[in-house]
Amino acid sequence: MSEVLLEVRDLVVHFPTPDGVVKAVDGVSFTIERGRTLGVVGESGSGKSITFLTVMGLINRKSARVSGEVLFEGRNLLEATTEELRHIRGDRIGMIFQDPMTSMHPMYRVGDQISEAILAHRNVGKREAGARAVEALRQVGIPAPEQRARQYPHEYSGGMRQRAMIAMALVLDPDLLIADEPTTALDVTVQAQILEVIDELKQRLNIGVALISHSLATVADVSQDVMVMYAGRPVERGTRGEVFDAPLHPYTLGLLSSVPRVDVRVERLVPIEGSPPSLINVPPGCAFHPRCPYRFDPCDRDVPDLRDRGGGHDDACHLSAEAKAANRRERLDMQEPVT
């Protein structure tokens, strides 16, 4: 049966600054199961990256107020010591980042950077670590891995570098891979390849994956679960089918109808009006209400919590299930399938 790897409960990450408190993450809950990919979607500043940097213990805890629970294999990582976290990072949880051009040290060989992760966690010799690094490069589809391991990052293309990052993150067989916008900085043709590598390894190694992206399209093909975030909170959460086939929240609808699609004829793209709010002055009530075309009475007062509101999966919108269904038809059915 399904095994929960990571369970985040009511995570709050606030950064006090002289201008006010930045509510980067403001009540986020989700689970990631073994063998499944959770796609986390939101605009810049929606709190998706901070959420996972907090899971990894990579935010500066001195400058942040953190509460909630991050349960990884039963342990609350928010209460783990620095040393305990260090042993989990790289070993039990691997992470890759947005820009593979800047995410590797420019002055060390790629193979050595991978071996370094092995040597940090395993009691093996340098030669053994080097051989495993080469094997990891082979696993992610890098041709001639023996030669490639001896090269420096600048000798790699962007796609190859991201593959090498994946190799580095997975070399110790972690249970969980966190991919923070892994394709954003890559060419479109390479993006699909990288997603494919991640998906293939997820199945082969039977790990859990958190795939963070600002684009629903990116997570669509390879995620089993989807969570949409806005201004530090999740606004919709469900399986891939639920969220894509029956989106509930107006923000999710907005994201879907503002993206050009190849498979259906789109009369026009509908942008989401306005811009994401400042995380210091988050609008009261539903944070999305100033940009929402369907806002009504309670939206600027009551914060809608994330739960099943009769739409079949979780969302955080005051509208009735019937109204949401109607909005969905109006917004998405005007896109006729190409015949």
Binding site: M56, L58, T82, R86, H87, I88, R89, G90, D91, G94, M95, F97, D99, T102, S103, M104, H105, P106, M107, Y108, E116, A117, A120, H121, Y152, H154, M165, M168, A169
Partner: protein, 321 residues
Amino acid sequence: MGRYIVRRLLWTVLVVVLVTLLTFVIFFVLPKGDPATRFAGKSPTPELIQEVKESLGLDKSVPEQYGLFLKRLVTGDEYGWPGLGKSFQNKQPVRPELIQRAQVTITLIIGGALLWLAIGIPVGVISALRRGSVLDRVSMGTALFFVSAPVFWLGLLSLYVFWKQLGWLPGTGYVSFGASPGTWFSHMLLPWMVLALLFAAIYARVVRGNMIDVMTEDYIRTARAKGLSERRVVMKHELRTGITPVITLLAIDLGVLVGGTIVTETVFNLQGLGNWLLIAAQNNDLPVTLAVTVLVAAAVSILSLVADILYAVLDPRVRYQ
């Protein structure tokens, strides 16, 4: 790489030729009075001036003089290679004195450099790691003080305190290492310190700035995400990129200082190159001026070549063809 080095060495030769040519032109285009008149003594007769001119080689045309200078430089003269002629001032051969004085200056620079690296780099790194702490603020405040403090003032102050008042160190002047290593060391200690404090202050600030930039790099986050120990993140990942630029800085500073430790040499009565160049320039002593110029130009360009090669070795992104 080999061809690159050869090409850069040829460049060095060209730089030396151009710098000496420029020195020649400046000397003759902007004369502070006729050198021959100056060296002919009080109220000289025209015959005497003419005689002095001939003995100094100033009777020939300027291009001819420059040609002779280059020829001597390349083929050597009766005092050895490279041929640098005799001083206008005291009629002594330039080459042996140049060697003698170069030893003093190089001793001063190398000792100073070791000291300022040993102080500047750790202070910069620790300040960056403890940014905003009391330690950081005190270090950077002190650094600002030594960057601003004039060397002559610092030199005289240190002499007053450690020599005159406390009597810990023996005064000024240079004692050769061969004569007495202990005395040599105690005579060089203050000049090293005074020279080093200025540069240590500059280096500490540069290293701190580099380190702070490096700390926010994505690959440092990657290093942490791999689960490396904090110590390894700093010592292996941050220091490597944070300190490498110091090499370029060091090479340029060392080159410039070959002829540029004038104040330190003067304050501590060290008979080095900077001191000599100053006197030569004041006295229109062309051969001495040229000799020091050649040495400084060669030192600057060779040291920058060394820095570029070292940089290419340390940073794989830099490759020369």
